[in-house]
Amino acid sequence: MRTVTDDTPPHGRNEGGPALIELYRRMVLIREAEKSCGALFAAGEIPGFIHLSDGQEGVSVGVMASLRPDDTIASTHRGHGHALAKGLGLDGFFRELMGKADGACKGRGGSMHVADLSVGMLGANGIVGGGIAIALGSGLAQKLRGGDGLAASFFGDGALAEGIIHECLNIAKLKTIPMLFVCENNGWSEFSPTSTQVTFTLEKLAAAYDIPYFGIDGSNVEKVADLAADLVARIRRERGPIVLECSTTRIRGHYEGDAQRYRNDPAPPVDPLSITRATLEERGVAVADLEGIEEAARAKVQQAVEAARSSSEESLSEAQAEVYAVEATR
């Protein structure tokens, strides 16, 4: 294992792979960022709708540990974890969610559209299933360009009911596109149990397209990271699609403010952070070190929030000037 520092970029499981404590550090940063999102939303400092991914950090961090900046991902409405794990900085993140001019997207998209093309993050998406075909096209671009880059599409189990997933699985296989389909199965299709919405399993669906399928406990970041490292390496080598389904837990509601009267979970939610923390303690990591990681994450988040608060919003005329791209192309 190489030395892991605070500044380790969120890529590179394949180059020896980050240690579990580094994966924990990345998950904690996402959790702390989203905790702040919830508080800022409740306080009215973040407008609109936000969908938190608490409980799903193991998937974001585990999969992204094997991706490089030139690999591309398309995400979902629950995309904060994906964006941060892929390398979007906290400053651009918070400023965007607070609608500020120096946000990642100049405050024009907000939570549901955070994107950072410079790290291959092709955007969260307000349309369920809306990112899958974009990722597939990006995967085709990776293939045509040569090299060993790939695209990953994150989607929830609710998206399995959308027709676009069928179109994309079919084309991915037909055209042999280097694409990792990552399903975050949290059991919920917005406000309804997915069991009341979807009659099939993704495993059987993948089999129908003859696409290799792998299922994993998405709450165990180490397992996700190890499996993703293998699958990503295989896609880099073989240049075809693979389906990865991660069972996971949506700790919060569909959106912040969701009273969740429909919800009656039989057991308390599985928290990937608690699991990882316990494992690290078992392996002899000092509690003080873990607390240090948590404290550092809180400090970073707080710093980004303070900075975002002091930023201002863009003017309407500035926004209107970028409805169309104007770059000369020939």
């Binding site: 591309t72 075909a133 597939l136 096209g137 990006s138 671009a141 079919n170 791209a325």
Partner: protein
């Protein structure tokens, strides 16, 4: 200069764009091996290979969505949607994704993609294969809409559409594909958003685009027999449309007709009429009159469809009505 058909002009434009720019890719249903439903892409597979002329399954939403991903990935996809009626199946990709990404991502990246599709009646293709839906796309900030009328324009506007850094809907009229005309060896480049005067006149301005331009020209000839000298403006680009050119013509003729094959209600003509009624109010000597399809689906039967299709006679009557 040589005689060619409208479809050949588009084929040559695609060919030349692919030859000069390795980023240009074609994707669509039956465009490679079959050469396209209307043979517009014939021969390009042999010339550029299956990595650049890509046959796709019947999955319009995925094709359009993939074009967004390809465009973000540095390519210049030109997708073919076989009939404009099938654009209904691409609406998420076009309206929610392609049109908005550049804006929504704060100016990061661009989506330089072209959707070639064809609209129009006259071939008894029926209610689901004849619609002119360009106004839908013109209504969406972030999209551009081009509808050529001549061979040289079809060639040149497609070049401009491919070079544009934004998603462009390039609408061909299926009835024009077999039309013969002169195709220049090197058509003069035409920027998007620039109209042309298809016929100069002094008495009434007829604004049109696509196949309807030819009907407007026929109507203008008939009007000349009545002593009315009509000017015909070919918009070429519906979004953005050349407001200045229309206003300039109206300022000379003081009368305005807007004619298109698409359903009249809530159409492109409504937008042009409303703008001119506002900014051109002082220049108007009569009512602005629209010509468009009746508010009904395009009917199938031979006589039904002939009766349905708006044409030179309606434009002629509309020009006369500007004197009422």
């Amino acid at each position: 200069m040589s005689e060619a058909r409208f479809a050949h002009a588009i084929n040559r434009s695609l060919d030349d764009a692919m030859a000069r720019d390795p980023r240009v890719l074609l994707l669509g249903e039956d465009i490679a091996n079959a050469g396209g439903t209307f043979a517009v892409t014939r021969g390009l597979l042999d010339k550029y290979g299956a990595d650049r002329v890509i046959d796709m399954p019947i999955a319009e939403n995925a094709i359009a969505g993939m074009a967004v991903g390809l465009a973000l990935g540095g390519y210049r996809p030109v997708i073919e949607i076989m009939f404009m009626d099938f654009m209904t199946l691409t609406m998420d990709a076009m309206v929610n994704q392609a049109a908005k990404l550049h804006f929504m991502f704060g100016g990061q990246g661009a989506v330089p993609m072209v959707v070639r599709t064809q609209h129009g009646g006259g071939l008894n293709a029926g209610p689901q294969h004849s619609q002119c839906l360009e106004a839908w796309f013109a209504h969406i900030p972030g999209l551009k809409v081009v509808v050529p009328a001549t061979l040289d324009d079809a060639y040149a506007l497609l070049q401009s559409a491919i070079d544009d850094p934004n998603p462009v809907i390039f609408v061909e009229n299926k009835a024009l594909y077999p039309m013969k005309g002169e195709l220049s060896d090197a058509p003069t480049p035409v920027p998007l958003g620039k109209a042309r005067i298809a016929r100069s006149g002094t008495d009434v301005t007829i604004v049109s685009y696509g196949a309807m331009v030819h009907k407007a020209l026929a109507a203008a000839e008939a009007l000349a027999g009545e002593g009315i000298d009509a000017e015909v403006i070919d918009l070429r680009t519906v979004q953005p449309w050349d407001e200045a050119a229309v206003l300039e013509s109206l300022a000379r003729t003081h009368r305005l007709v807007v004619a298109h094959e698409a359903v009249e209600a809530f159409g492109v003509g409504a937008e042009i009429a409303a703008r001119m009624a506002h900014i051109g109010f002082d220049d108007l000597d009569g009512p602005i009159v629209r010509v468009g399809g009746a508010f009904m689906p395009v009917p199938f039967g031979r006589t039904l469809e002939v009766e349905y299709m708006p044409g030179a006679a309606q434009i002629f009557a509309a020009a006369r009505a500007t004197y009422d």
